[in-house]
């Protein structure tokens, strides 16, 4: 596997650290006026999602991680695994519950997700940034209360619970930002 030197470090680069694949989030050159340069690097461990800070001497090199982000379509869940397919090759990959992680609560069949492969196997799943889902459970809507602020919890068809405005009812389709879990707007009413 290739090595990356600190001067190739940039956000998004995948490297091996203590045996785990990590993604570089931030890289800052630190150089005391008369001193040796080093790099303060913020990384996310792609297995545990834990964020940590490491210091490298400038010029040090680190092993590249065999990690690839690939767009894949979510097909189905067979009880044990979540099945994803590469749209071009139709190749299928089985992701464990651990790999699917928090994406679980947003996934609808047919969604195009980013599946991160590590040594060829799914390591993590990133859902689409925006999803449109049906409200399956919430308190009855308060008609005419569109102007007033305030919100209530609503359970969506995939199991996620988000805060929505008071006027929404069960059966309505809403748009949600999966990165923040925030309600974005009503798509349609049944």
């Amino acid at each position: 596997m290739a090595n990356y030197s600190t001067n190739e470090f940039r956000p998004g680069l995948k490297v091996m650290l203590d045996g785990d694949p990590c993604s570089i989030l931030e890289n800052e050159l630190v150089k005391p006026g008369k001193g040796q340069a080093f790099n303060r690097v913020k990384l996310r461990n792609l297995k545990t999602a834990r964020v940590m800070e490491k210091t490298f001497k400038s010029g040090e090199s680190v092993e590249a991680a065999d990690v690839m982000d690939t767009d894949m379509q979510y097909l189905y869940n067979d009880g044990d695994f979540w099945c994803f397919m590469e749209p071009d090759t139709f190749e299928q990959h089985q992701a464990t519950e651990n790999a699917v992680g928090d994406a679980l609560q947003w996934l609808s069949e047919q969604d195009i997700c980013v599946v991160t492969l590590y040594n060829g196997a799914p390591l993590s799943v990133t859902p689409p940034n925006h999803v449109e889902l049906e409200i399956v459970e919430t308190d009855p809507g308060l008609r005419g209360d569109t102007a007033q602020g305030g919100n209530k919890p609503a359970k969506l068809s995939t199991g996620a619970v988000v805060k929505v405005p008071l006027f929404l009812d069960e059966g309505e389709i809403i748009r949600v930002d999966t990165r923040t879990g925030e309600y974005q707007g009503r798509v349609s009413s049944k």
Binding site: E28, L29, K31, P32, G35, Q36, F38, K57
Partner: protein, 312 residues
């Protein structure tokens, strides 16, 4: 293509202009002579951690105006200041740009503590409410590590550096371990405002003269200034001994050779100027772009430079 445009708006461009004018005014009012020395020369520094930019014709862009200014001092210029550009290869980041604006000034007959006081006055004219604190290097290491940075065993400094950095520091030099500890642990915990740190370790003397402090420890008469935890300025009670300077250049060259870095010829004209006699003086260099960053409350250099490196 949109990156033909400057990275800052007209308000910041005006602010930059105002600060440059105020810096000049401060020194002109105090009767320092402004000098504009060359940025291109046949030689450059031998520093082990500073890389000069070489031109195709084999000359170098200067990493600071220091050597030319010292030649002027040796020729009898008296107090001088220079506000100009300096260049350092490979330094780019939120606090670094390969070309930057440097303010450097020298005071004849002054020691480093008098110069630190003047630096404080300069910062206070631009940031009137600034808090100013002053500590010795040893005080800070005693506070944060409970060790004496001048006398601690190298092995104990390496152990601390491995904890703060990584195993890459396990067999590193005294100067490198101390730099790491200062930058990673102490610097982020410095107080708001201007913090002056003096009596740097002898192994980091650079171009400062050395002396034995009250505890009998060999320390250098070098100081650094930090503004809101960002390194801003570096100053010395200048080394005037030409032979000692030549020996330090030779040590630097040896260290560069071992590290596999480009060999740099020592500036013989500077050494000849020291031989002829540099008056006792103190000098300091201040990063103007970093100062602007603090005045403007910006978080990176590209927010105060019209054309930072990614637009050049």
């Amino acid at each position: 293509m949109t990156d033909w445009q400057p990275g800052i708006g007209l308000d910041r461009l005006r602010q930059r202009s105002r600060v440059l004018a105020e810096l000049r005014g401060f020194f002109q009012q105090r009767n320092l002579l402004e000098v504009d020395v060359p940025v291109l020369s046949t030689t450059s520094v031998t520093d082990r951690n500073i890389e000069s930019i070489a031109t195709v014709s084999g000359s170098y862009l200067q990493t600071s105006p220091e050597y030319f200014m010292k030649r002027l001092l040796a020729a009898g210029s008296g107090d001088i200041f220079c506000l100009g550009k300096a260049f350092r290869s490979g330094e780019a980041g939120i606090r670094h740009n390969p070309e930057f604006t440097l303010l450097e000034w020298y005071r004849c007959g002054w020691d480093e503590h008098q110069l630190m006081a003047e630096l404080g006055e300069l910062i206070a004219t631009l940031l009137p409410a600034v808090a100013i604190n002053k500590y010795s290097y040893a005080e800070l290491f005693a506070k944060y590590f409970n060790i004496d940075p001048h006398q601690a065993e190298l092995s104990s400094l390496q152990k601390l550096a491995v904890e703060a950095g990584s195993s890459a520091w396990s067999d590193d030099s005294r100067a490198n371990c101390l730099d790491l500890l200062f930058s990673v642990v102490i610097e982020p915990q410095l107080s708001d405002g201007l913090v002056l740190v003096y009596d740097y370790p002898a192994c980091q003397a650079a171009l400062a003269s050395c002396y034995s402090d009250a505890q009998g420890r060999r320390v250098s008469r070098r100081f650094e200034a930090f503004l809101n935890r960002v390194e801003l300025a570096n100053g010395y009670f200048e080394l005037t001994d030409g032979q000692e300077q030549a020996a330090r250049f030779a040590e630097d060259q040896q260290a560069r050779k071992i590290a596999g870095k480009t060999e740099m010829v020592a500036d013989q004209r500077l050494l000849a100027a020291l031989e002829s006699g540099l008056p006792e003086c103190s000098g300091v260099a201040l990063g103007v772009d970093r100062l602007l960053m603090q005045i403007e409350g910006a978080t990176s250099l590209d927010q105060v430079m019209p054309f930072s490196w990614d637009r050049c």
